[in-house]
């Protein structure tokens, strides 16, 4: 068999050119339109369909694209080293707003934003002192406190689980709030805290997330709160595997995070600690469009519904109304400052 070697690379080039000509050209013209506000968003390693944190950010910018008519471009970095070039590419092309999603991008944005002082930047879950960077941060501990209360009222064993993604201070904020909420209801409750890993691959390892959840179930935990991106979905599998009792209700529950995850495994998801990254991102795009962008720290707590727990047709029957009353009372007290939830990152 004689194979003409140069043909193969040539063929690949043609294919690449073809693929590009069909998709790239149309988009390019639109993105170059100077009359429209252009927004670039760089996602975290989890990727925009993690059904959780990044998904919420994506939801927000999609809504802005629909309702505000902005031009939207997104990048999903395959690894941490491609975050900076992606940000610079948007800034270099003069985008009106560059959004970075996730704590890991904060130090990178600090460098890039300094080089482009006339471009607006926004960082989710990170803090920067630069005047052209809006820092969008959330009081995750407050929302976690409320779901901790619900978990403590639901557990039959008095043992709860927490599966975090990467072991970073931000995720400890979820864990500590959760534990405090649970102990406020019942001081004797114990909480198993586990983390998937210590590198960014910890957000994308559902297999290990499931093993951690199974080990917590083995130790008696019957409500598990996840804050682990895609890895958290493994905990959903684990509680489903534990099955349903004679009364037709699940024996073990999971609590979703960031996005409303109640519909991921209906009947097994007690509630979700939603973090309204979508609203925060939408608002900042709106500010840019209306030329009232402000740098500095924007904090989203229970008061502005920046964090909350989800209640819908999937979990209404799982939470008793008396629990809801109790949680609502606590919510008011937190907003008024009568209950101080420990912020693990402030320590």
């Amino acid at each position: 068999m004689k194979f003409n070697r140069p043909k193969l690379p040539a063929l690949l080039l043609c294919l690449a050119a073809l693929a590009c000509s069909s998709s790239c050209t149309g988009a390019k013209n639109e993105a170059d339109d100077p009359a429209r506000v252009r927004v670039g968003i760089v996602f975290d390693i989890g990727g925009k369909d993690d059904r959780s944190f990044n998904a919420a950010a994506f939801e927000g910018v999609k809504r802005a694209e629909r309702e505000l008519g902005v031009v939207l471009r997104d990048v999903e970095p395959g690894n941490p080293t491609s975050i900076e070039p992606a940000m610079r590419a948007f800034a270099e092309r003069g985008y009106d707003l560059v959004i970075g999603v996730g704590f890991a991008q904060a130090p990178i944005m600090e460098i890039v934003a300094k080089d482009y002082p006339h471009i607006n930047f926004a960082i989710v879950d990170g803090v920067s002192q630069l005047p052209n960077v809006a820092s969008l941060v959330f009081k995750e501990h407050q929302g976690s406190y409320l779901v901790g209360m619900i978990a403590a009222r639901t557990t039959k064993t008095g043992k709860l689980g927490f599966v975090g993604g990467m072991d970073i201070p931000l995720i400890h904020r979820f864990a500590t709030g959760y534990e405090e909420g649970a102990k406020a209801v019942n001081p004797n409750i114990s909480v198993y805290r586990n983390f998937v890993g210590v590198t960014d691959s910890a957000w994308n390892n559902p297999g290990k997330g499931k093993e951690l959840a199974l080990s917590q179930i083995g130790k008696g935990a019957d409500v598990i709160f996840t804050a682990a991106g895609n890895s958290g979905l493994g905990a959903f599998d684990a509680v489903e595997q534990a099955g349903k009792g004679a009364d037709g209700r699940a024996t073990h529950y999971v609590i979703g995070v960031d996005s409303n995850q109640n519909m991921v495994k209906p009947g097994y998801v007690l509630t979700s600690m939603v973090k309204r990254v979508d609203n925060a991102v939408y608002d900042i795009v709106n500010d840019v469009k209306n030329k009232r962008f402000q740098g500095g720290v924007h904090v989203f707590g229970l008061d502005k519904d920046g964090v909350a727990f989800s209640l819908d047709q999937y979990n209404q029957s799982l939470i008793d109304p008396s629990i809801l009353q109790e949680v609502e009372a606590a919510r008011q007290k937190i907003i008024k400052g009568e209950i101080q939830v420990t912020d693990a990152m402030a320590k």
């Binding site: 194979f3 059904r51 805290r193 890993g197 994308n204 290990k208 599998d237 595997q241």
Partner: protein
């Protein structure tokens, strides 16, 4: 301590070792035939993605598993053609496949599911949580038998040790190498499929999280022999499982040990065992060297 050493630990060990074992056995065929297979990670990803996507559409995990195997074989064929037909550097080709496979599933999931790297979740009834586990353990015996008791195994080993001699004895060196690399694609793909339609219920980006490389380490650790490789995989699985059980429970000084330290347990143990007990691990002599027939 009784909280750590439980029956659950044994099951967790086996579940964690399964994808490693399947990939390592795949690597064993390829490397015993003389072709370095650093592409195990990418082959696993190909199998994992295809299995989840086809199971979603067909509603049958068996169709998914078969399609996953097919995808693994197909991707392995790229490696085989590059290394055997075109004498490419085997490490470079393998690395290229790993990089390719971080992108291709993301691109295809965009086209198929309008997502950027994950498939929809597969209903629990469509999962195969135990079949790959049993299969992996059976395949250790099968591989041992094939390697040491069949003509194909003899040729495979000969081709990996001394291809010139094998050629002189009438063995089709490149033919054997092709089948070995394709087989490794099939086995690694089953390992990947276990992750997406056995252990978990969906594919997510890079969900193998380095398991292909750990499998490669287990293969070297196991001196390229089936039973030893299985033991190495079980050791890795055990250390991972024990680190899972230890987290938040093991409090020797009343204080929790930081997760960072617990996470290094598997690696420290590996170094200790490698340095202390295993001794020299000798690779097949012709590993990494393309075979060119003298004209």
């Amino acid at each position: 301590m009784t909280e750590i050493f439980t029956i659950a630990l044994i099951f967790s060990t086996i579940r964690t070792a399964t994808p490693l074992l399947l990939a390592a056995l795949g690597g064993l065929y390829s490397e015993r035939a003389g072709v370095i297979n650093i592409a195990l990670e990418g082959l696993m990803l190909a199998g994992a993605f295809t299995a989840a996507a086809v199971t979603h559409y067909a509603g049958s995990p068996w169709a998914g598993l078969l399609a996953g195997i097919g995808a693994g074989v197909l991707v392995a064929a790229i490696h085989a053609v590059a290394c055997i037909r075109f004498n490419a550097d085997q490490v470079v080709s393998g690395t290229a496949i790993n990089i390719l496979m971080t992108g291709v599933p993301a691109m295809l999931s965009g086209a198929l599911f309008l997502s950027s790297g994950s498939t929809p979740q597969i209903p629990r009834d469509d999962l195969i949580p135990w079949t790959p586990v049993v299969l992996a353990l059976l395949l250790v015996g099968v591989t041992w038998y094939v390697l040491y008791r069949t003509p194909f195994g003899l040729r495979l080993r000969a081709v990996g040790e001394n291809p010139e001699a094998a050629d002189a004895a009438g063995v089709n060196v490149n033919g054997v190498r092709y089948s070995a690399v394709l087989l490794s694609g099939a086995l690694a793909a089953i390992g990947g499929a276990y992750l997406s339609i056995g252990q978990s219920s969906l594919f997510t980006r890079n969900m193998t999280s380095g398991r292909g490389f750990i499998a490669l380490a287990a293969l070297i650790f196991g001196k390229w022999r089936p039973v030893q490789t299985m033991l190495a995989c079980l050791l890795f699985g055990f250390t991972e499982a024990i680190s899972i059980q230890m987290q938040g429970v093991f409090k020797p000084w009343g204080e929790e040990i930081p997760v960072q330290f617990i996470s290094i347990v598997p690696y420290v143990l590996t170094i200790v065992v490698l340095a202390g007990f295993i001794g020299l691990s000798r690779a097949p002599r012709a590993l990494g060297i393309p075979y060119q027939k003298e004209k």
